[in-house]
Amino acid sequence: MANLKVFGVVLVTIAIYTLLANAIPQVQSEVPEELSFGAGVTAEQLVTAGEQLYQGAGGCTACHGLGTRAPNLLTDEAGTGTIGVRCATRVMDKDCKAYLHDSLTEPGSFVVPGYGPIMTDMRRTLSGAQIWALIAYLQSLGGEVTVTGEDVAAAGNEGAGGGAPAGGGGAAGAALAGGSLDPVELLRAATCFVCHKLGEEGGPIGPPFDGIGARINADRIRRGILAPNADTAQGFEAMAGTMPPTFGQQFNAAQLEAVVQFLSSRK
């Protein structure tokens, strides 16, 4: 009988620990997807693939997402703008593309004042194509994407990710909602309703879309989509930083304007 009780204690204890570990948020560490872009790759394809790396397997957000260990690349840094804006002015005589490439492959060559030299050489973990995709994405955050298919092709199989492509050609920059210009369809496809409420649809996390045109003008709405951390809506200060700054990148220019005009008409 005693042995049976011991067995029961052991089983119950193990079960509790297993259930507890399954009750917490589950995060798996993914393997960076191999990219097989050729010279014909578009900027949109590179930006989309770069964003996936930045937000996921590239591991960038562990430091750059907090703004304490490393500069936050997605938001303004001491009035110098997002990384796509400030990259060209960081080092004299070095354009944005060259600066970002050096930052990823020779991180010790320039360290932003106020931060430690903790950045690793990303060639040890990412392929040349992956590094160029990241650069394209960072450029797209407020700047012009100048990375080209020639850069990617020239990189060849350099870096750790070189070798056999895993197929798929990376993420294609397909237009959101099939290129639709229907603003409600676009807001739905861009998952805006997860946080914002419009009529009966949407959640309470962010400011409601109903009446937004009466509260702020079209410019503020546009900025709120492209650089959501630039302003904070009254009454939602505690949610500052919650909205991913990448949502605006999902729209093409025509779609963005359609959404902005639609929202500014909600008075």
Partner: protein, 599 residues
Amino acid sequence: MNRVGKITIRLIGAVLGLGALALCLADPAVAQEAAGGVREYGNFPVIGSRAAVWIAAQVHLMFAAFVLGVPMFAVVVEGIGIATKDEKYDKLSKEFVRLLLIAYSATAIWGAILTMFLVTLYPRFWGHLSEIFEVSIWIYVGLFFVESFTLYLYYYGWDRWKKGGAKLMHLGLGILLNVFGTAVLFIADSWLSYMMSPPAEVTPDTAPGMVRLWSAITNATWMPINIHRIIANVVFGGAIAAGYAAIRFLNSTTDEERAHYDWMGYIGNFIAISALLVLPFAGYWLGREVYEYNQSMGITMMGGFMSWLWIIQAFLIGVLFLAANYYLWIGLGRIPGGERFVPYTKWMLLILVAGVIVWATPHTMIANRDELAQMGGTHHPFLGVLGVMSAKNTAVNLMILTTFLSFLMYRRANKAPVVSWAARGSLIQGIVLALAAGVVIFYGVYGYFVSAIVRIGFSVYQVGAVLITIVVVTVIDVMISRGAKSYGEIRWGRMPARSQYALFILVVTFTWLMGLMGFARSGIRQHWHIWEVMRDTSPWAATPALGSAAVVISTCVLIFLSMIAFIFWLGGLVEKPVLASARPAAVPGTGGLAPAHGE
């Protein structure tokens, strides 16, 4: 040599034979074939190759920790027996080693299984590793062989070399056993730590044959892992020995047996908890070396996808503190005089529970939109305050102080000091303890008002205050207890069954924690067999989430505990337990003031 010994020798022989075969299979020709693209990975049915290797490695490590940890305190206990000329320590030491003897073959079997799995399921990786470390692998095999026979000499020579110089020679064998065991541990650690932190000059293009062996061995995390594992092995060995004693206690049929296994359980628990208190410092060193070696790896470990793992770890360590203290508090009931400390235990329980709650509070919560709306932000307005390091460091240091106080109460329970300065000494002890708690709380609160870099330094003051207090208060207590009168002998064996179940919870929790930390150490390499040198391109390269890992960890714990229960049962069939002369329960009410009997 008895039957168990012969069976064990045969098993070891078979395992060494298999191991040699495995090494032959790792011939460079095989590795070249793998590198030539013929085969990089094998496929284990149903559970996949990663889970197969994971389980084999983890169960092997659990057995290895046990067989390396036990000799460390067994030889110390034998030494105490020689110094005090008290035979009960000698018998206890022998019983510890008897557990070791039987578990040794299981360690070797799982080691061979692991080797086989690596050779057949990860041939490219194995070829790479064996080419770099081949000389150390040969030395490892030789040391393993020598260690085995030293163990046999140590155990089977116990009764033959019992007196005078022969006894000292026997003690020397025990020390030698530890030397060989530690060398085996250090060599195996060099292989796994190389996977975590290969030397900077090694790149994906470096041919394995060009990597210098000594450079590969003395990599950045090698020594921190060595030290961490030595301490953790003592913790684990003590806990398993206590678990063994508990099950024997519950199945005892005589007072003599109950007294012996009650005492053995207490000693095992004492060893485990004492070593556990210093383990975090080795852990900090290892963590710091990981950060020094590669910031990305360190951040992945503490702030990346593994950040929630530390909340689970906090919960498990909380269980350890609660169970260990509970066991000690129940133990006061078997000590005449212990009842005067019982009223304090409810307050100590309060401190421990509050400490666990604070320690297990996450700082940043991954929440869904409804939870975000309810919290009013990404940080919980109340819990966010408790989730920072200032609060956690304060909580854990107060928990350590509380546990130390439990040991102190236990130690003083049946003693009536006779030295003239006893009252003043006790007062000083109380003041020192209160001062330590004050320092811990002061820097905990102050930490909220300074920058992070200053706050990190405060943890040194907190830990320093606690460690100094433990040393000072213990020294005073030893001096106060000189010549103390006793309220009566400890009634070994007079423990309720629930105390033994607390020991089992400790065993399961230690074992599970070991599996969890194994996942943490190995998982921070993410999709690399060898960090930034050899990429894992297998279908199992992604590092699983904690929920999936927990299933594998629990499987390993179940396999290990089932096997060790079977092994202990098998040992009991062949050989009668060696009973120490710990006295059975004294008749209650006879606790007059007699010379104190050491516990």
